[in-house]
C-alpha cells in the first residue's frame, strides 16, 4: 500500500512539472496584442524598439548596419535591432519557426518570389498607402518592382534590384582565338562563340566549356523571361494566371537552351557542380548570371580576367530577368501602432534613393529607384553598367511558389537530357506543372 502512495505522489509531481513546462508554449499566440493595447499610451515618448531581419551575407549586413546607424541618428527615439545571424539556407525555416512563437521581425527582407506564400501565410501586411502611394512607386521605382503589388495591393519595397547579364571569360576567349573585346551580342553569336570556345581532350572529356545550360542556376529565368520573349512569345498572361510558354515561340526558346547540352554539347552542368561554380572556377567561357555574382568572383577568384555584357538580343528584342530582395512589414509590427509607425519610417528610409546609392557601392546591387539607377557614372561602370542598362527592359516573373515553378523547368530539362524525353513533351509537362501551381494559388484567393 505504501508503495502505491509513493507512486501517486511522484505521479502528481510529474504531472505538475509537465503542466508548468507546457504552459508558456501555449500562451504567446495572443499575448502581443493584449500587451500593446495596455501599454500603448505610456510608450508614446519612450524609445521604440523594432526588429529587422535579413539572411547572413556579409556585404548586405555591412550596408544595412550603415543604413541603420544613419536612421537611428535621424530618429533618436527609434532603435533598430538588426538580426542577420541566419544563414541563407535556414532563413525561411527560422522565420516560419519564430513568428508563430511571437519573436520574429517587424521588418523582414525576403526574396520577391516568396511574397505570395508569405502573404498567404498571413505574415505580411499591406504597406500603408499614405506612406507609400502606389503612384509614387510606379513613377520612381524600376518597372520590375510592380511585382510587389499582389492583386493591386503593395506589400513590399526593395532597396536594390538585380538583373541578369552575360559574363564572359576573356582569357578563355583569347585562347580559343575569339576577340575578348567583342563578346556575343546576339543569340546566334552566343551559340557560335560558345561552340568555338569549347575544348575537349583526346578522350573527348570537356576541358573548357563554352556555355553550360543549367536551369538550376539562372537559366530557368533566362528561358522564361528572356528567350521566350526573344523568340516572339510571352511566358505568362499579364496577370500571371496562365502559362503561355508552351507555344511555338516557347518551343524554339526551349530548343535553343537545350541545344547547348545536346547538339552543340558546349558544356555539362554536372561538372564542378553546376554552371556557376564552373564559371567562377574559370572553366567556362560564357555564363548568364546576376550582379550578385560579381561579389562571389571577387572573393573566390579575384584574378579572373572577365567582362560583363548585356544579355544577347535576338530578332532585335532585348530582355532580361529582374529580381530583387524586398522588405515587408510583418503582422507582428502591425499589432502595435507605435512599433508600426516606427517600422514604416524605417522602411521609407531604407527604400529611399540615397539608401540605394549607398547599397550599390557596398553590395553591388543596383538601386531600385530609377533616379539612382540611371546615374551616368553607374551606366559607364565596366562591370555594373551592363546590369544597369538592363533595368529598363527587365521583367520580373510573378511567382506563386518560386521553388516549385523553378523545379518544373529543372525537371523537364532533366527529362530531355537524362531520359531522352521528347523536348516538346517535356516542355508541355513543365507548362502543365507550372499551371497547376498557379491554379492552386489563384483558386485559393
Amino acid at each position: 500500500m505504501k508503495r502505491s502512495k509513493l507512486f501517486v505522489l511522484i505521479g502528481a509531481l510529474l504531472v505538475t512539472a509537465m503542466l508548468l513546462a507546457a504552459c508558456p508554449a501555449a500562451v504567446p499566440a495572443e499575448s502581443p496584442a493584449a500587451d500593446s493595447a495596455a501599454e500603448e499610451p505610456a510608450m508614446a515618448d519612450e524609445v521604440v524598439e523594432i526588429e529587422y531581419w535579413q539572411y547572413n551575407f556579409a556585404a548586405r549586413v555591412d550596408a544595412m548596419n550603415q543604413l541603420i546607424a544613419q536612421f537611428e541618428e535621424a530618429n533618436p527615439n527609434i532603435k533598430v535591432v538588426h538580426n542577420a545571424d541566419i544563414p541563407y539556407a535556414e532563413f525561411r525555416d527560422k522565420i516560419a519557426a519564430s513568428v508563430p512563437a511571437g519573436v520574429g521581425p517587424d521588418v523582414a527582407t525576403l526574396f520577391y518570389g516568396w511574397q505570395s506564400v508569405w502573404i498567404d501565410s498571413g505574415y505580411l501586411v499591406p504597406l500603408p498607402e499614405d506612406a507609400f502611394p502606389p503612384a509614387m512607386v510606379g513613377e520612381k521605382f524600376s518597372p520590375m518592382v510592380q511585382a510587389s503589388f499582389v492583386e493591386g495591393t503593395l506589400y513590399t519595397l526593395p532597396t536594390a534590384v538585380r538583373a541578369l547579364a552575360l559574363f564572359y571569360n576573356k582569357d578563355l576567349m583569347a585562347d580559343a582565338g575569339l576577340d575578348p573585346e567583342s563578346p556575343p551580342s546576339t543569340l546566334d553569336e552566343l551559340a557560335d562563340q560558345a561552340a568555338a570556345c569549347t575544348q575537349r581532350d583526346d578522350d573527348g572529356a570537356l576541358v573548357v566549356q563554352g556555355f553550360v545550360a543549367d536551369p538550376a542556376a539562372q537559366d530557368h529565368h533566362w528561358f522564361r523571361e528572356v528567350l521566350v520573349r526573344q523568340f516572339g512569345g510571352v511566358p505568362y498572361t499579364d496577370d500571371y494566371t496562365e502559362v503561355l510558354y508552351n507555344d511555338e515561340a516557347g518551343m524554339q526558346a526551349w530548343n535553343y537552351l537545350i541545344a547547348f547540352h545536346t547538339d552543340l554539347a558546349t558544356g555539362d552542368r554536372d561538372l564542378f557542380d553546376g554552371s556557376t561554380n564552373a564559371f567562377v572556377g574559370g572553366h567556362v567561357c560564357f555564363h548568364v548570371d546576376g550582379s550578385f555574382r560579381l561579389g562571389t568572383i571577387a572573393k573566390n577568384n579575384p584574378d579572373m580576367n572577365y567582362g560583363v555584357a548585356e544579355l544577347p538580343s535576338h530578332n532585335g528584342i532585348k530582355s532580361t530577368f529582374g529580381s530583387y530582395w524586398t522588405h515587408g512589414l510583418t503582422k507582428k509590427a502591425a499589432a502595435d501602432q507605435a512599433r508600426f509607425d516606427a517600422a514604416v519610417k524605417f522602411l521609407q528610409f531604407i527604400t529611399s534613393a540615397d539608401a540605394g546609392a549607398l547599397w550599390v557601392d557596398i553590395v553591388g546591387e543596383l538601386p531600385a529607384q530609377l533616379e539612382a539607377g540611371s546615374n551616368p557614372e553607374l551606366l559607364a561602370d565596366e562591370k555594373l553598367g551592363a546590369f544597369a542598362a538592363g533595368l529598363e527592359y527587365s521583367h520580373a516573373t510573378f511567382f506563386a511558389d518560386e521553388s516549385q515553378q523553378r523545379q518544373a523547368i529543372i525537371d523537364s530539362f532533366d527529362m530531355v537530357v537524362l531520359t531522352d524525353e521528347d523536348p516538346a513533351t517535356a516542355l508541355q509537362i513543365a507548362a502543365d506543372t507550372d499551371q497547376e501551381v498557379l491554379d492552386d494559388f489563384w483558386s485559393s484567393r
Binding site: 505522489l9 499566440a29 513568428v99 508569405w118 501565410s121 561538372l271 564542378f272 557542380d273 511558389d401 506543372t433
Partner: protein, 301 residues
C-alpha cells in the same frame, strides 16, 4: 509521513529520472501529438493555428498520389526501396565483418574504430565527402574507373543510379553500429557449443548455420527493426546529395521525410506535411509490428 531509507532512495531516483521524462514528453511526445492535430487542419504556419478541415489534407495526398510524376508516390516508393536495398545489405555486410573481426586479435580495436567512425560522423559531412567521391571526371571513384579502363559513371546525377548510390552511403554510414552489436552477440555465444559440435564432426559451415546464426536471431531482429526505421526516416543524406537538395534528379531519390520538409518549410503547407508525417508514422508502426511478430523467436539450446 515517514519514509524508510530505501523509499527515500527510490523517491530520489524517480525525481532524477523524471527530468529526462519531462524532456521527452515536451520535446518528443508533445510535437508528435501536435503533428496529428496539424494534419487535420489548414494550418497556417505564421499564425500557429488554423481551421479544422477533417481529412482534407489526406484526400489531397491521395489525389496527388494519383497524378502522373507525383512526388508523393515517388517518395513512398523510394522510401520502400531504400529499406529493401539498405537493410539486407547492411545486415549481411555487418555480419560478415563482425565474424571476421571476431577471428582476429591484433589491430581489432583499430578496425572497430575504423568501422564505427562513420556512424558518429554528421550525415551532412558524410554527404559532402561522398559528393566529391562521386563527382564526374574529377571524383576519386570515376578516376579509379578511368584507370581501370572502365567507363565513368554518373552516380547521383542519373535517375537510375542515384538511389542505389545514396543507399550505399547510408549502408556505409550505419555499418559500424551493426558490426559492434553483432560482435557483442557473437562473443556472447558460449564457446563450448562450438567445441561440442566440433567433437560431433560439424564443419565450419554447419557451425555457422546451426549455432551462430540461430543464436544471433534476437540481434538480427533488433538490427532489422532499427535499420528499417532509420531507412524509413532517411533525410539528411538525400537532402545533401541530390541536386539542390530536392530529391532529384527527377524525384528519383526523394523520401517521405524530404517531402514533409519541402511541403512544410518551402511551400508552408503544414497541414499537408503533418498528414504525410502521420502516414509515415503508421507505415513505420505497421512494419515494425509485422517484423517483431514474424521474426522474433526464442532459440534455446
Amino acid at each position: 509521513m515517514r519514509f524508510t531509507l530505501r523509499q527515500r532512495q527510490i523517491i530520489w531516483a524517480y525525481i532524477f529520472m523524471s527530468v529526462a521524462l519531462v524532456f521527452f514528453v515536451i520535446i518528443r511526445w508533445y510535437p508528435t501529438i501536435l503533428a496529428f492535430n496539424v494534419s487535420f487542419r489548414d494550418w497556417n504556419v505564421f499564425e500557429g493555428s488554423g481551421p479544422w478541415v477533417g481529412l482534407e489534407n489526406y484526400q489531397e495526398i491521395w489525389k496527388d498520389a494519383g497524378k502522373p510524376r507525383s512526388s508523393v508516390t515517388a517518395a513512398f516508393s523510394n522510401t520502400v526501396r531504400y529499406v529493401l536495398f539498405g537493410v539486407p545489405s547492411q545486415l549481411v555486410l555487418a555480419l560478415a565483418i563482425a565474424l571476421l573481426l571476431a577471428q582476429i586479435r591484433r589491430l581489432s580495436a583499430v578496425f572497430r574504430v575504423a568501422y564505427f567512425a562513420p556512424y558518429v560522423t554528421s550525415a551532412v559531412a558524410v554527404a559532402f565527402v561522398w559528393n566529391w567521391l562521386y563527382q564526374p571526371e574529377t571524383g576519386l571513384i570515376n578516376q579509379g574507373l578511368d584507370l581501370l579502363g572502365l567507363p565513368q559513371q554518373p552516380f547521383t546525377k542519373s535517375p537510375a543510379q542515384a538511389l542505389p548510390s545514396i543507399t550505399a552511403v547510408a549502408v556505409w554510414q550505419n555499418l559500424g553500429f551493426a558490426v559492434i552489436i553483432f560482435l557483442a552477440g557473437i562473443q556472447q555465444i558460449p564457446g563450448h557449443y562450438y567445441e561440442a559440435a566440433r567433437i560431433d564432426g560439424a564443419n565450419a559451415w554447419q557451425l555457422f548455420w546451426r549455432i551462430t546464426l540461430p543464436l544471433l536471431n534476437p540481434i538480427i531482429v533488433y538490427l532489422t527493426v532499427l535499420g528499417t526505421i532509420s531507412y524509413l526516416r532517411l533525410f539528411a543524406l538525400v537532402q545533401n546529395m541530390s541536386p539542390q537538395g530536392t530529391g532529384g534528379p527527377l524525384k528519383s531519390t526523394t523520401t517521405v521525410v524530404l517531402e514533409v520538409y519541402r511541403e512544410g518549410f518551402s511551400s508552408y503547407k503544414m497541414g499537408y506535411a503533418g498528414a504525410l508525417t502521420v502516414l509515415l508514422f503508421f507505415l513505420i508502426l505497421l512494419i515494425t509490428i509485422i517484423q517483431l511478430r514474424f521474426f522474433s523467436r526464442r532459440v534455446e539450446y
